[in-house]
Symmetry: C2
Subunit: 420 residues, 2 copies
């Protein structure tokens, strides 16, 4: 019999406990041993958790219990779980965590501490989708060329509503909050930070890159509006908040931002709260993994898959490699990213304006690929929307500053990156 202790019995923790009970038949058949939750630890003992397991408010009751084989960490936060997971590993206990923030900051220290003790984290990225297993086991024959993931359901729900139903950003945010998809302070989701944690985890398996959220480009969906949506539709794009890891000659780009992608691509077809991760390998080509990225039961499904793998004797290296991966896989600076860009600006409706703008862009070696001009409803400005050929991030940022200084350009310039 294998005994489990759960640190943090919230929605996911309760689902883990309940599924281990209700699906005990298949779990024992698949793992080869009975799996039983011995106890859980919570902050507040007076709250009903809807589980029948023994609860305590002292983590030591799990971490230091010699009977417990596997510690499941579902607390949230970073430093406290780090301390507890470290202690559990040092006590020789296998650990399963769903904590993306913990891994975004401490995965390399934890790998070191774990050594040969299993430390698994399928649930940390894209909820119930077994993407960690796919990348760590299923695609090992490949140099990973790119990863593009819809790894945040809240923002995908919002963008889908904005695109399919013409909903306004503020309205749809309120709706997402009412439905429980978005927090009262939605920044972590809509600002792209949640997705960045997941991207960093995947990038470690693919490229062995040790980066923290602060090191990479993260932009949210707050500035997307219906003008952008209409442009995207007209030019055959969808807009998705993507986590992107991409190997180029000079190194690896890691970035999270709203992205225009061809509407015909598989990942563009993923709507609503669903998640999906597209992985391109040098041999396998494109593969994609789709499913629920959140929710108690879907996340618990991934937590339990890890438990079963541990019980079966899984010895996979935590981050998928036992010796350093490819050389030359350094993280590129934000300024070094190369992609196509969409720009939206308001300009005076006068002859010669377009010439001024294209000339300003030429200074930075940026050329326009497609353009759309639309009248404003209530003043004498026109909206100028265009996409550029591929150029360096540094150049587009400089060009935007230069464009804003032109007299003919009014207000802010909005930019969305494009992946072809």
């Amino acid at each position: 019999m294998v005994k489990i202790g759960i640190l943090g019995v919230g929605t996911v923790g309760a689902s883990v406990a309940n599924i281990l009970e209700t699906n005990a038949d298949i779990l024992e058949a698949r793992a080869g041993k009975k799996i039983v939750v011995k106890s859980g630890v919570v902050k507040n003992l007076s709250k009903d958790r809807g589980v029948s397991i023994k609860l305590s408010d002292n983590p030591s009751d799990i971490i230091d219990d010699p009977e417990i084989d596997i510690v499941v960490e579902l607390m949230g936060g970073v430093e406290e779980p780090y301390r507890l997971v470290k202690q559990a590993l040092e006590n020789g206990k296998a650990v399963v965590t769903a904590n993306k923030a913990l891994l975004a900051y401490h995965r390399y220290e934890l790998q070191e501490i774990a050594g040969n003790t299993p430390l698994m984290y399928e649930a940390s990225t894209a909820g119930g989708i077994p993407i960690i297993g796919a990348l760590r086991n299923g695609l090992t024959a490949n140099h990973i060329e790119s990863i593009q993931g819809i790894m945040n359901g809240t923002t995908n729900y919002m963008l889908t509503k904005m695109i399919n139903e013409g909903a306004l950003y503020d309205d749809i945010l309120k709706e997402a909050q009412a439905l429980g998809y978005a927090e009262a302070d939605p920044t972590f989701d809509v600002g792209g930070f949640d997705a960045s944690h997941k991207l960093l985890i995947l990038a470690s398996i693919a490229y062995g890159i040790d980066a923290k959220p602060e090191d990479i480009l993260i932009e949210g969906i707050e500035n997307i509006n219906q003008t952008d949506v209409a442009f995207a539709k007209e030019f055959g794009y969808e807009i998705k908040l993507l986590g992107i890891a991409k190997k180029v000659k000079e190194g690896v780009e890691l970035r999270v931002h709203p992205t225009m992608i061809p509407a015909s691509s598989m990942i563009a077809k993923v709507d609503g709260v669903m998640n999906a991760v597209s992985v391109v390998g040098d041999n396998v080509g494109e593969t994609m993994y789709y499913g629920a990225g959140a929710g108690g039961e879907a996340t618990a499904s991934a937590v339990i898959a890890d438990i079963v793998d541990i019980v079966r004797g899984n010895q996979d290296p935590m981050l998928g490699y036992k010796k350093p991966l490819e050389t030359g896989m350094e993280l590129l600076f934000e300024s070094e990213i190369v992609t196509n860009y969409y720009l939206r600006m308001s300009v005076i409706d006068q002859s010669g304006v377009l010439a001024k703008i294209t000339k300003a862009l030429e200074t930075f070696n940026i050329s326009i690929e497609s353009m759309l001009q639309k009248p404003h409803r209530d003043d004498e400005l026109v909206k100028l929307l265009f996409t550029t050929h591929a150029c360096q991030e540094e150049k587009i940022q400089e060009a935007m500053i230069a464009l804003k200084k032109l007299n003919c350009v009014h207000g802010e310039i909005a930019m969305i990156r494009i992946e072809k």
Copy 2:
């Protein structure tokens, strides 16, 4: 160092040998050991294989070579590979096979023979997509409610062309043959047999069902025509050749047939030669896995993933379970399948005909859900197309016999099953 022997050095075998060489850097990092191909066995030594490995025409040079740790079986066929894989396992060698036919017929004997020796087969199903790993490891927490897979690229290519471009079946079959997607005798693909092998492998992991191709319903795409395609479009369906495994109260349905599925479902959006498998679990909900289902390099990607897993010390049970899975998971008879149906028939253009047909259907408790009537171009018949509410396969088969006996019905009646 781990030494590999390859039985059968065709397209996939050559890709395996070449990738193990070109991607040796990441493979050693991920597996923790150098992986080297020691030799290959082919039937015809005079043919150039485009590989630099030592070749022999005697399987014993691999099977009985004490230096070889892992035997990769890529020969095709059933009985000869069965004999050789058995011998390799008995010699204590781990085996990786991409041979779906071998597994469709002998997976349970092989599991028995293998015991604790690894026998892996990721490449047998859906090429480069790591669907075996997803099902055997990623979704272990779930009772599998259903599997729906596009597991044959040839037929998906043909159906996509028929639907998107209005191509005729015979023309597109010729094109697929010219492109190398379809064999000179296309029966194995277009008849659904290839997909059935893959379905049986997945059904074993999901339900522990021991069935052979002869035991299940297999129908091909040969009778689909542009009338069906037009109807599907009008009523919001796509037509896909699906392998379906579905748990119902009474047992498990296993079937391969052209299927009308809602155009809004993710699997309906998978076009061209690509494969995808949708798996619904009781906790995770729907997940989907997408990628290349064939091709030397994509298939080799899966073969090598298995090799790496074996080198890492993977101890997963071959079919994903160590003790019998759920009880009551018996294979249902074809006649017991329950689903919705689409029927196409030609009837005389006369009043009262519709009443006769609905009355005939009522005799079998079948009711019509939607209907479309279209004139024939060149005679006095009309095409009657309709879908039924859910009913039992046995009833629809009996109803079709009864309908054909009516004087007002001319020629054959075509039927396509619908999954909602």
